[in-house]
Symmetry: C2
Subunit: 334 residues, 2 copies
């Protein structure tokens, strides 16, 4: 055993073992230019032999750069987000950074979670499915910590965000539905105070109005399966019954689909067309075969991270990526 127990080996230990100064060790390991190849190699060898692990805390303290990025997820239970999180961790790791994760428990707000991250000097923060008070936003500006909102946009003040082209995509859904023969289109939203809810609702409405129609009834399902199920049950019990439902999240659409089929004995899309949003994996499975709008999570993550690490002083951007209509079997076609 070459390592001593309970005492981590530091650059000083290496310096001693190599008979050089500690700063030389630091330079050698940092691949600093002005150092002889021999010394460097020797030092690296010793470091490896001693099982040296650089202390990033010390490094960060000195360089004022933690190399950590904070990620706050409000809705990990929504099957759309695991994939987002997975690509985030991998990209962040590939950039040589670490990811500090926080998930917002029901009843708490992002504002309350943020300070604990800030203590760790994160270099940037991405917030998914949630927003920030403008007070907190100001605070972050002072700290010079960039933020980007993922899947939420805010109009009241300038802040980075990356979202799907919700308006366009939802208008396309309206077109699809109407072309498929639907005339009584209902809407199941998530939470009324979110931008995704508002934008997708407006998009649908605008699209319908182009055809002289409007949303006939609506409800919210809180972006959960159960919520979608309940909302669909309610909307589909009305007379006359809607002949289509647009849900702003696949997971709600699946709930709606099950409510229609299993509980009400309706045929989908025969009696009612159902369209979702996200294109989560389950949507493609034959038991559901859900027509939906795909949100390109990978490219959204890429945009989000590059926004985060843009040169300081860049003006905040509201990036929009197009959503792709994925035609499957849950909506009638023209």
């Amino acid at each position: 055993m070459t390592e001593r127990r309970h005492k981590r080996v530091t650059s000083v230990d290496i310096a001693k073992a190599a008979g050089v100064s500690q700063s030389t060790v630091s330079r050698a390991l940092a691949n600093d230019g002005r150092i002889s190849e021999v010394t460097r190699r020797e030092i690296k060898k010793i470091a490896a032999r001693l099982g040296y692990t650089p202390n990033e805390m010390a490094r960060s303290l000195q360089t004022r750069k933690s190399n950590m990025v904070g990620v706050i997820m409000a809705d990990l239970q929504n099957p759309y987000y695991p994939a987002v999180l997975e690509t985030m961790t991998q990209k962040i790791h590939a950039m040589g950074r670490q990811l500090l994760l926080l998930s917002v428990p029901a009843g708490l707000t992002v504002d309350e979670m943020l300070p604990s991250m800030l203590r760790y000097q994160v270099e940037g923060i991405v917030i998914t499915s949630a927003v920030l008070s403008s007070r907190m936003h100001d605070h972050l500006r002072n700290l010079n910590t960039p933020v980007v909102l993922f899947n939420r946009s805010v109009e009241s003040f300038f802040i980075n965000s990356v979202c799907c082209e919700n308006l366009v995509a939802s208008r396309n859904v309206a077109d699809l539905l109407v072309r498929g023969g639907s005339r009584r289109v209902a809407f199941i939203g998530g939470h009324v105070d979110t931008s995704t809810h508002r934008e997708r609702r407006i998009g649908l409405q605008e699209g319908l109005r182009q055809h002289g129609l409007d949303i006939v009834s609506e409800d919210v399902g809180g972006n959960s399966y159960e919520g979608g199920y309940r909302a669909a049950l309610k909307l589909l019990s009305a007379t006359p019954r809607p002949d289509a439902i647009f849900c702003i999240a696949d997971v709600m659409a699946l709930g709606a689909l099950d409510a229609a089929r299993s509980e009400l004995g309706l045929s989908v899309p025969g009696d009612v067309s159902i369209v979702g949003f996200d294109d989560i994996p389950v949507a493609a499975w034959p038991a559901y075969n859900l027509t939906t709008v795909r949100q390109p999570s990978e490219s959204m993550v890429n945009k989000a991270l590059s926004l985060l690490f843009e040169p300081k002083g860049s003006p905040p951007a509201a990036v929009r990526v197009p959503g792709e209509l994925i035609i499957r079997g849950s909506a009638r076609l023209g």
Copy 2:
């Protein structure tokens, strides 16, 4: 605006503003006992006014305690894990700690990911669905960093782990199947070199042997929907056809179910019973209504975290939590 831009406020700034020494500030903020209530209150007020955020890097460097725990997830795409991760983040946050997340990309091993976490002086590491080389394990012992394996066990050396009672649970599945009239039971595993695969396979086999039966055919599905689908297709094409399939992960069972129903036109459970493991949310949805074994993720997370923070020197433990058979509609009953 009370805060200066681009320069974070430190305890020294507060000390100056309050006309006390920096260590007094430190004590006041740490709620150290021997300090007058007046000073403390005054200092806290100033800290709040200046928008002070303690620098955890500096703190950690001094105390040699980072308050961060590392979590390595190998299989975030498996719908069982998001819930696990969510409860982990929340518990860890509730303990006043932070969670450093790493996900293992295909082709990489945990061994390769670990060093980057270690630099951050994590206090402990939870590894889900993956194992550790014994070399790495030794290294962690030297660093005195506790590890716990979540959903994987290892027999070759002593290490903390928390798993489901795989053997018992799988034996119960065998009983259920046989009582339901099945005689030709097939098995779909994940990866042959994992403990969950082996244990659940043996459990099933033992259970069947009690009834004078054995596993009639088997395949692996890599713990993915597509893998389960393909494996089921293959197994169900044999003559004579299996009359039951036990899948070691719900997500594969759902694939198997769709393969049986949608592609082969079989009735489940009429022609073939299908049982999964995990009890992910989708399993309960009417379109699948999957009979399965519930892994109690919350209590598993609790055990894992308490194992991690057990007093130093406690002997490693292999915690087993019971799995609960959830009877739904995808397996025939006696």
